[in-house]
């Protein structure tokens, strides 16, 4: 009797849990990550149309040779890539600082007039990436450190 009770209890557990499994049955979205189109027969393009960044752009020292405009270009047009990271690192090396609020780069044009623990005040050069895609100078600008990336 004890054994049959145990079995019956087990059976109800099995039934119960099977219903739970049924309730959460996986569907197509659960089994794989969203499919990215992977061409089966990609059209052969000449080598001068590379489909992926050239290996040379993996090398940080390469970025030391790029001019400032190219660094800005990579930073803004290759977002989320390793190259963006390397460009940002090089910009920092060249004393540019990223302002999180204005989402652009600033460089001291001269020694700041005021420096506190919260901010510094002075004349800066900043990169106008939205307007004319050029560098501009701005006097009496207060750079708050809390926006320093």
């Amino acid at each position: 009797r004890e054994r049959s009770l145990q079995l019956r209890e087990n059976n109800s557990f099995v039934q119960h849990m099977l219903e739970t499994s049924f309730q959460f049955v996986p569907d197509a979205l659960d089994s794989d990550r969203p499919k990215y189109y992977v061409p089966k027969t990609p059209y052969p393009v000449p080598a001068y149309y590379p489909q992926v960044p050239l290996g040379v752009f993996e090398n940080p020292s390469m970025f030391e040779k790029l001019d400032i405009d190219t660094l800005f270009f990579i930073f803004y047009y290759q977002q989320g890539t390793y190259q963006q990271y390397l460009a940002a690192r090089e910009l920092k090396k060249q004393s540019w600082r990223f302002h999180k609020k204005y989402l652009t780069w600033f460089q001291r044009h001269e020694e700041p007039k005021t420096i506190t623990s919260e901010f510094e005040l002075g004349t800066y050069v900043y990169f106008d990436y939205e307007g004319a895609w050029c560098q501009r100078k701005k006097a009496e600008f207060r750079f708050e450190y809390k926006y320093l990336e």
């Binding site: 049955v25 996986p26 569907d27 197509a28 979205l29 089994s31 794989d32 499919k35 990215y36 189109y37």
Partner: protein
Amino acid sequence: LGSDLTGLGLNLNATENLYSTFMSPFAENPSLGAEPQFQTPPCYT
């Protein structure tokens, strides 16, 4: 008497294999999701 197995969504007369596109035993269309689902914008028709 069982059921008509041809109605389970598998192409039993296929010459190529079934397993490579078998995504789920529980889907009415078991190979759904094996290939990306593309919708072509109407302006392309």
